[in-house]
């Protein structure tokens, strides 16, 4: 309970004698919310995000990018508060100083030892031994990348609040790191074909350990989720990618004899056109994967889903790319917002949640922020 009502400063003769209901009436809100349908929406405005992107970029230049922790926090606060679940905004409670300190810790516990190995390896070992050492370091690095992704996600959830209730992520960060490494090997050995299964399995691992207060999320292979054409769409993207790659190689060889200027023009032109074509092939698969994962999520009696289309991904990929290029990077945050907004506004929800049943999370807030992910340059989304 949050405090004692009998406190100094309260004068009984006027307490609650002059009721002013303001704009909010009990009728308008209901006495106390109970079961609610979880409509989810985002109403972020592009102008606001551009402003955050603008001053973050400007101050990043002046502060050798140290301001990025503050800029990122401002962006998240805005994006979270623009996202409403059952009419209530999400709240981002993370602090920039946590990110900054997390990053400093990651520098001393991981980045400097890693750079030290590279330094001493290169300068003191013969090339053969150095190659072995560097291969071992890279294996560890790949595992640590998975750990970093998990820790960043745990931090995000623990700093996300709805109706005063925190989200949380449980499970083992190292377990996730080893799993993502193993899946990465399988994906490489199968020339990418294990990739979609890996992504689904890693999402399952994350979501089966995610909580909203004392309510656990579940990742369930519902018939709707399983009906998504994961491998059909992947085949299109994979075959399309191979064909486009071979086309690029053929063009490079075919016009290799052309003079320098013409060759560069052809190669760059081809790269842009083929890049757009690949985005067309890949967009379907990306939309399918987003739907596949979100359709698998349940919490309590509520099942989530999503209606995002390949055209949404395609349109966003192309327009966001141009937006980022033509604004010299200022548009990165607005681009991230547009993707988030499109996904959120395509969410579907079945069932109702009884908020009265949901109690506060018993998980401790992790003190570790996302410094490791920042150090490894894995902070690509929000």
């Amino acid at each position: 309970m949050a405090g004692d009502f009998s406190t100094p400063g309260q004068s009984g003769d006027h307490a609650f004698s002059d009721l002013n209901t303001g704009d909010l009436s009990a009728d308008a809100r209901g006495a106390t919310s109970d079961r609610s349908h979880l409509n989810i929406e985002n109403n972020s405005r592009l102008g606001r995000m551009f402003w955050i992107g603008f001053y973050t970029t400007l101050l990043n230049i002046l502060t050798l990018t140290i301001f990025r922790f503050w800029g990122r926090t401002h962006f998240r606060r805005q994006l979270w508060s623009d996202t409403r679940v059952a009419g209530e905004p999400l709240e981002y409670t993370g602090r920039a100083m946590e990110l900054f300190i997390g990053f400093i810790i990651a520098i001393f516990t991981f980045m400097l030892p890693y750079l030290g190995i590279i330094y001493f390896g290169q300068t003191l070992l013969d090339p053969g031994t150095f190659l072995i050492v560097i291969m071992i370091v890279y294996v560890i690095l790949f595992i640590v990348m998975g750990v970093a992704i998990f820790l960043a996600r745990r931090y995000h959830l623990s700093r996300t609040r709805l109706r005063g209730i925190r989200f949380s992520q449980e499970g083992s960060a190292w377990g996730y790191g080893f799993a993502s490494f193993g899946y990465g090997i399988l994906t490489a050995l199968t020339l990418g074909w294990f990739g979609p299964a890996a992504r689904i399995n890693l999402s399952r691992r994350m979501w089966n350990n995610a909580w909203f207060g004392d309510q656990k999320f579940s990742f369930v292979d519902t018939p709707e989720a399983k009906s998504e054409p994961v491998y059909k769409s992947f085949a299109v993207a994979w075959i399309g990618g191979i064909v486009l790659y071979l086309t690029f190689i053929a063009l490079s060889i075919g016009y290799g004899a052309a003079n320098g200027g013409l060759f560069v023009l052809i190669i760059y032109g081809a790269a842009i056109v083929l890049g757009v074509l690949f985005t067309i092939f890949y967009s379907w698969h990306e939309a399918v994967m987003i739907r596949r994962i979100l359709k698998s999520l349940t919490i309590n009696d509520v099942s989530l889903g999503n209606r995002i289309k390949a055209m949404d991904i395609l349109e966003l990929s192309i327009t966001n790319t141009f937006m980022i290029i033509f604004t010299l990077g200022i548009g990165i945050m607005p681009a991230q917002m547009r993707l988030w907004k499109r996904i959120v506004n395509a969410m579907t929800v079945e069932g109702e949640l009884n908020f009265a049943d949901i109690k506060q999370s018993r998980s401790d807030k992790p003190s570790q922020a996302e410094g490791l992910a920042d150090g490894l340059d894995l902070i690509s989304k929000f």
């Binding site: 307490a15 002059d18 809100r29 709240e91 090339p127 209730i165």
Partner: protein, 387 residues
């Protein structure tokens, strides 16, 4: 001050249930009472109240002492809030904090920048001197092996090496260089020579070509490189590059700059030296050349040979380009004095070398021997590629 109350919403941070509450603005804090259950009451001191967010519809307040509880006051409550907590909505505190933050971060950045451009170069000298020589030798061997994957040693230089190595070693001893010298002729057309850490010295095929019969000019360049070896300039360059990369990596976060700079720091193009280092290496060269009986003026001839070669290459470039460069030069009408440039002005170096001139007292190689040395890189290479 008139006491007032307002109806609001409240999440207590314990459950997701929304409470409709009546909030009283007391003298010292907010009295919060649930409308449904009179037993549920809270009191928030004004000093603990924080503005979480505000929108056109509402003000969301938190409490610094009570985690996760949120009080949501409707739009229209500004006057009551301002009466009791004048700074809460004004944004003055946030603006002050933001200004302080920006000033603080810009100051830190200025210090880091000073560290990059002053601290690291200044520390590189003492660090190089503190580095154990064995360590530097091993490092130099590794760097040379890495460089040789791109710039191959001349394959048929054994006889030339057997002639030149004893002389170079004698020069190294005379100059008190402090490292055993590992010398290579390398297959590179540009006339140049390099000193890597730990006594690794390379001279290019291009240098052999431009000096032609002037063996003294060639050996003067080698003496200059021995000057870099003695001053451990290669090691300093390594520390400069590695330090810069690590610092930038730490600041920018995962950009890979440190790893790249460490990997590149062993490459030839990163072995640039400062004006002072070049001048010092010239002086060491004069000293060594005098010791072995060669006129230091030979270094001036080497510079002239190299400059001539560079000039010939420029002449071969498009005339239009040169015209454009000349136009730009005239437009600028600013001549950078040698002391401002990171490298000493070549003409000044030539003057210095001429000033140090003393007649040669010996000839290092017979004409026949020099012919053999000149052919170090001339015979067809095993891969048939002529650089």
């Amino acid at each position: 001050m008139e006491y007032s109350v307002i109806t609001a919403r409240f999440f207590d941070g314990e459950s997701a249930l929304e409470h409709v509450v009546t909030v009283g603005f007391d003298l010292e804090g907010l009295s919060i009472r649930s409308d449904n259950n009179q037993e549920q009451q809270w009191f928030w001191y004004y000093r603990d109240v924080l503005l979480v967010s505000q929108s056109q519809e509402e003000f969301r307040l938190g409490n610094g002492k009570i985690e996760d509880a949120i009080l949501i006051l409707p739009h229209g409550a500004e006057d009551k809030i301002n009466n009791r907590m004048p700074d809460l909505l004004s944004g003055r505190v946030q603006r002050r904090r933001m200004t302080g933050l920006v000033i603080g971060l810009v100051s830190i950045s200025a210090l880091i920048t000073a560290g990059l451009f002053v601290g690291i170069p200044a520390a590189s000298g003492p660090l190089a001197r503190m580095t154990p020589k064995d360590y530097e030798i091993t490092m130099g061997e590794n760097f040379a092996a890495q460089i040789n994957t791109f710039i191959k040693p001349c394959a048929n230089a054994d006889e030339a090496l057997s002639l030149i190595e004893p002389v170079i070693n004698r020069m190294a001893v005379s100059g008190n260089v402090g490292f055993p010298i590992e010398f290579q002729f390398v297959r590179m057309g540009t006339p140049n020579a390099f000193a890597l850490p730990g006594g690794q010295v390379m001279a290019t095929k291009g240098l052999l070509r431009v000096v032609e019969d002037d063996q003294e000019a060639f050996m003067a360049v080698i003496a200059h490189e021995l000057g870099h070896v003695r001053a451990r300039d290669g090691m300093q360059a390594f520390y400069r590059n590695a330090g810069l990369g690590i610092l930038l990596e730490v600041i920018t976060g995962g950009s890979g700059l440190a790893q790249q700079s460490i990997q590149l720091s062993g490459q030839i193009n990163q072995m640039r030296h400062s004006r002072i280092q070049e001048s010092r290496a010239d002086e060491t060269a004069f000293e060594i050349l005098n010791e072995v009986g060669i006129n230091p003026e030979a270094l001036a001839r080497a510079f002239e040979d190299i400059t001539r070669k560079v000039q010939e290459r420029e002449d071969a470039d498009s005339t239009e380009e040169i015209i454009q460069i000349e136009k730009k030069k005239k437009k600028r009408r600013i001549k950078i004095p040698g002391w401002l440039n990171s490298h000493p002005n070549t003409s000044n170096r030539i003057k210095d070398a001429r000033a140090a001139s003393t007649p040669s007292t010996t000839k290092l190689f017979t004409d026949k021997e020099w012919t053999v040395i000149q052919q170090a890189c001339a015979t067809p290479e095993p891969d048939g590629v002529d650089d």
